[in-house]
């Protein structure tokens, strides 16, 4: 089956004026874009190193419209790229081989909130944070909290199995989805999973999560709502060495403490964040940890003392505790805006997303520093340390082709090191186009054959988001990957 990987492009249909006309009839004149100047906005996502404009962009407003659009594209044999907010950091929405982007951004209603059963039914284009906003006054939240949560959509979260700082305790998206409504490549609408914990048969709702838009277009999701904890203790621990900070992470977990979140920021990030927002982080620190504990009032101060003792014992030079909710929110704002702050110190950046066993964090951070030095690329680190999920941010200027090459080489080396340390090349951002070549290093052909075989069950023509996740085998038509070009 792998030998047919490239075959899709051989029979790939084109977006004809007639098809455009038919699409317009389904979703309305103003919701189809074909002009090169218009579709440029969809040529890339949060990963800017590769760009390729789609042939057309369609914005349906209902499941019914998605289904009719998909039927038309099926008849025309045109590739389809599902898209939410386009915040992917792995190029998962880049139309590498052309095709039509189907954006869910107009399907953005929260359809039902059922607090007694702790779930909500939402359309795929609903922004992650809106779910929490809708239920927080009742004491609930939607647990997956990617740093992009003010923009990214539930459909995108489902498609990439997103995580966030609080996944250490609460799990990733897959742990919070009970069911999805999905439109298959031929326009068939299916409901997978649903309202109750389990349905007879294979767990298809679970299976499609994280499939990066290659199995269908998610139109709705039944999400779990989580009860907000009674109280929080949020600590900022300041370290003079990165090693001491990463050792602290391991030691906390080893002692059987599961904080809600353990995030790390290194010196470069601290400086960028300070410059941009003046939160009052010590600019000379090698690293800080944000450690959040949550749970019951009873016992939390004792727990907080234990964590502070571990920090001190591992060499923290200073430990601050947020005194109130405002200070806590400030800390989190600093963390979640770290990416934005980077924009101020570098014209371009690429974020990597490797995972290593927690105990290997000191090793991988040493490797990252060494790789950065060798390639002359500054690398900042802000990441989900409690999960061993690194986010090295490689800073460069995308007008400088030589720097771009060095960034790509450095990224490769870091990801390869993650695999060698027993980890993965991605913890939450997905493979996209960016990490396709690393997939072959993580899995054997037999491993991948099982997955690509199942892909064909859902999408026999392999028209959904082609070129993502799975490497095409040798001898097949390679999806053309354009040289990176300057941002517009």
């Amino acid at each position: 089956m792998s030998s047919q990987q490239g075959a899709a492009s051989a029979t790939q249909g084109r977006v004809t004026p007639r098809l455009v006309e038919e699409l317009r009839r389904v979703v309305g004149e103003e919701n189809v874009f074909v002009e090169p100047s218009e579709v440029l906005a969809w040529e890339c996502d949060g990963y800017t190193l590769e760009r390729h404009p789609p042939e057309a962009v369609v914005l349906p407003a209902s499941t019914e419209e998605v289904s009719r659009v998909m039927r038309l594209l099926h008849q025309a044999q045109v590739p389809v790229i599902p898209r939410g907010a386009g915040t992917s950091l792995s190029g998962a929405t880049v139309p590498v081989g052309g095709g039509v982007v189907v954006s869910l951004s107009r399907m953005n209603r929260i359809l039902k909130i059922d607090l007694e059963n702790r779930r909500a039914v939402v359309e795929a284009g609903v922004v992650n944070l809106w779910v929490t906003r809708a239920v927080e006054n009742d004491g609930f939240f939607f647990a997956p909290d990617p740093s992009s949560q003010g923009a990214c959509t539930i459909g995108g979260n489902v498609a990439t199995n997103s995580g966030g700082p609080h996944t250490l305790k609460y799990g990733v998206t897959i742990n919070h989805i009970l069911g999805v409504e999905m439109v298959l490549a031929d326009g068939t609408v299916v409901e997978l999973g649903g309202d109750v914990e389990e349905r007879p048969g294979y767990d298809l709702a679970g299976f499609v999560i994280g499939s990066e838009g290659t199995l269908g277009i998610v139109t709705k999701a039944v999400v779990r709502l989580t009860r907000a904890p009674q109280t929080y203790r949020t600590l900022l621990a300041v370290f003079d060495t990165i090693d001491a900070a990463t050792r602290t992470v391991s030691e906390v977990i080893r002692q059987g403490i599961i904080p809600a979140a353990v995030e790390m920021m290194d010196n470069l990030i601290i400086q960028a964040v300070e410059e941009a927002f003046h939160f009052g982080f010590p600019k000379d620190a090698a690293a800080v940890l944000i450690i959040e504990l949550d749970g019951l009032q009873a016992g939390i101060d004792e727990l907080s003392r234990r964590v502070q003792a571990i920090c001190a014992q591992e060499g923290a030079r200073e430990i601050r505790a947020a005194r109130d909710e405002k200070e806590r929110q400030e800390l989190w704002k600093a963390r979640k805006r770290a990416f934005g702050a980077i924009g101020r110190i570098s014209p371009s950046y690429v974020t990597q997303d490797g995972v290593v066993p927690r105990t290997k964090l000191p090793d991988i951070l040493r490797i990252i520093a060494e790789v950065g030095r060798r390639h002359g690329i500054p690398i900042a680190n802000v990441f989900h340390a409690g999960d061993g999920n690194i986010h090295p941010i490689l800073l460069f200027d995308d007008q400088n082709p030589d720097e771009v090459e060095r960034v790509l080489a450095a990224s490769d080396e870091i990801l390869t090191a993650c695999i060698e340390l027993g980890g993965s090349v991605t913890g939450e951002h997905g493979i996209g186009i960016e990490k396709v070549k690393h997939v072959a290093a993580m899995y054997t052909q037999d491993d991948l054959d099982v997955m690509t075989g199942l892909r064909e069950v859902f999408d026999p023509g392999r028209r959904l988001n082609p070129g993502k996740i799975f490497p095409s085998s040798k001898g097949c038509i390679e999806v053309k990957r354009p040289r990176p070009k300057a941002s517009a």
């Binding site: 199995n161 349905r199 048969g201 030691e251 059987g256 995972v355 066993p357 899995y443 997955m451 064909e456």
Partner: protein, 496 residues
């Protein structure tokens, strides 16, 4: 129960012996005397590693022989009776802990390890896997994944797949395939672990799994409340779930005779009570037996647990009237009783042969010591919206009473999962009852599967219920992964 016994094929046995060695092929009469839902395989094979399993599956594929994976054998009756059953493939020799790094909170194990053996290892490091199946000494990790059963602790820790980080299987075509990894976050490739979890051994043989583990409970305690009716439980359940004190288990059990004994006495008597129940006739039911027991378990540090127990008592107190009673009980007592309530025969199931063939007369005598388990009662498991659970139970009780059935139930009240037990008997009437119970579950947004029934009864009913309009996907997945249908053929939804 009658056991179909196919003639032993010399050819098959020698082919298997060539793969695993003669000492690792057993006659089913000794190694699996009850067969699988009434079918006796031709041979039981005990491979030592994934490679041997691959060779067995390739041989089965070439010769179109059905393979039944066997873990601890505690749930071999789940699903439709297999269409064919030539080879029983035991995972019992794949029982090793492959990797455990306590500070990473991950553990990688072979599929044949028993949950008790794994827990004992983890406990030495202050850790556990928060699953509590009945028969932990026998139930295997592979069997737990294949059946996707989640017990009482699901309330706090969700299902089996939620902690599954990586999985390795041998596919029907005999290839070793893995997915996921050994780190706590990973989104490279499809979620194969989800697909295998609950697939009842119909897609692949699970050989290895990596889980995210959990620190052990430092302290745990329970409160039991006896209530005059199951309906009286609804406001109590709501109040307990709607609190900062979050139970790690919340179980609703019944029926009981209110006022006959304290909640603790009722609970310690529950195993006998529930077991006796299986052989009750409805006419034996004393009139007062319509009450319910609600059991709430809390865990954490001593301080956390104490606060939560006190808070739970505060919340329950206003609901105590008309003979209701509340009492703190030790975790171990309550937990044991709850598991028994879900699975009445838990103490009676006799161990399978571990590996090498047993002395046949001995094994048979041992097996017969327990009553033939599938015959004495029927169990259905329903999944419904948690908010409708009490109503579903109450309707089931009314239905049973009205039609002369003695019905016992045990429910994970917070997650909407309930088991109904009724004594075996007239199969036409049971088929009717199952159909009616199923209607009630579907009406509450869910489904009902028959977890335990004699093969003759299964022939008269649907084990899994309506196929649903997405069945074509389930079917296509089975066809893709096991085109010759050698793995547990006929057992799953829609006789896949």
């Amino acid at each position: 129960m009658t056991v179909d016994r196919a003639p032993l094929t010399e050819k098959l046995v020698s082919a298997l012996e060539a793969i695993v060695g003669p000492q690792h092929v057993a006659a089913p009469e000794t190694a699996l005397p009850e067969g699988v839902d009434g079918r006796l395989p031709q041979a039981v094979v005990f491979p030592k590693d994934p490679e041997e399993i691959g060779a067995i599956l390739r041989y089965a594929n070439e010769n179109r022989l059905a393979v039944i994976p066997v873990g601890g054998g505690t749930q071999l009756g789940l699903g439709h009776p297999p269409e064919r059953a030539e080879i029983a493939l035991s995972l019992s020799r794949l029982d090793q802990i492959v990797a455990h790094e306590p500070a990473d909170m991950t553990v990688t194990v072979q599929a044949g390890i028993s949950i008790a053996a794994l827990q004992a290892h983890l406990a030495r490091h202050g850790q556990c896997l928060p699953y509590d199946p009945p028969l932990p000494g026998r139930a295997t990790i592979g069997g737990i994944i294949a059946t996707r059963e989640a017990g009482p602790l699901r309330q706090a820790f969700r299902g089996v797949a939620d902690r599954l980080l990586g999985i390795q299987v041998v596919t029907a075509s005999g290839k070793i395939a893995k997915a996921g990894g050994r780190v706590v976050k990973n989104v490279s490739g499809y979620e194969m672990g989800r697909l295998y979890t609950g697939s009842l051994g119909t897609l692949a043989v699970i050989v290895e799994a990596t889980f995210k583990v959990q620190p052990s409970f430092l302290d745990a305690g329970m409160i039991a409340v006896s209530l005059p009716s199951v309906e009286a439980a609804r406001p109590v359940i709501r109040a307990l779930l709607d609190s900062d004190a979050q139970p790690v288990l919340l179980e609703l059990l019944g029926p009981i005779t209110v006022g006959a004994a304290s909640p603790a006495e009722l609970l310690s008597g529950f195993p006998q009570h529930a077991r006796a129940f299986a052989s009750f006739e409805a006419s034996d039911l004393p009139g007062g037996q319509s009450g319910a027991l609600l059991v709430a378990g809390y865990a954490g540090t001593r301080e956390e647990m104490e606060w939560q127990l006190a808070e739970a008592e505060r919340l329950i107190t206003p609901h105590l009237d008309k003979g209701a009673a509340m009492e703190r009980i030790p975790w171990a007592l309550g937990h044991q009783a709850v598991l028994q309530a879900h699975r009445h025969d838990a103490q009676r199931v006799v161990p399978l042969a571990a590996s090498a063939p047993l002395d046949s007369a001995g094994a048979r005598a041992q097996q017969r010591a327990g009553t033939s388990p599938a015959d004495d009662y029927v169990t259905c498991r329903a999944h419904v919206r948690a908010s409708e659970l009490v109503q579903v139970v109450s309707q089931a009780l009314a239905l049973a009473a009205g039609s002369g059935f003695a019905l016992a139930y045990a429910a994970h009240a917070g997650t909407g999962i309930v088991r109904f037990h009724v004594p075996a008997g007239d199969e036409e009437r049971l088929a009717w009852l199952i159909g009616s119970l199923r209607e009630g579950s579907i009406g509450a947004g869910g489904s009902l599967i028959v977890e335990r029934a004699a093969p003759s009864l299964k022939a008269k009913i649907s084990v899994f219920g309506p196929l649903g309009k997405e069945f074509f996907l389930h079917k296509a997945i089975k066809e893709r992964m096991d085109p010759i249908r050698i793995l547990n053929p006929g057992r799953f939804l829609g006789n896949l």
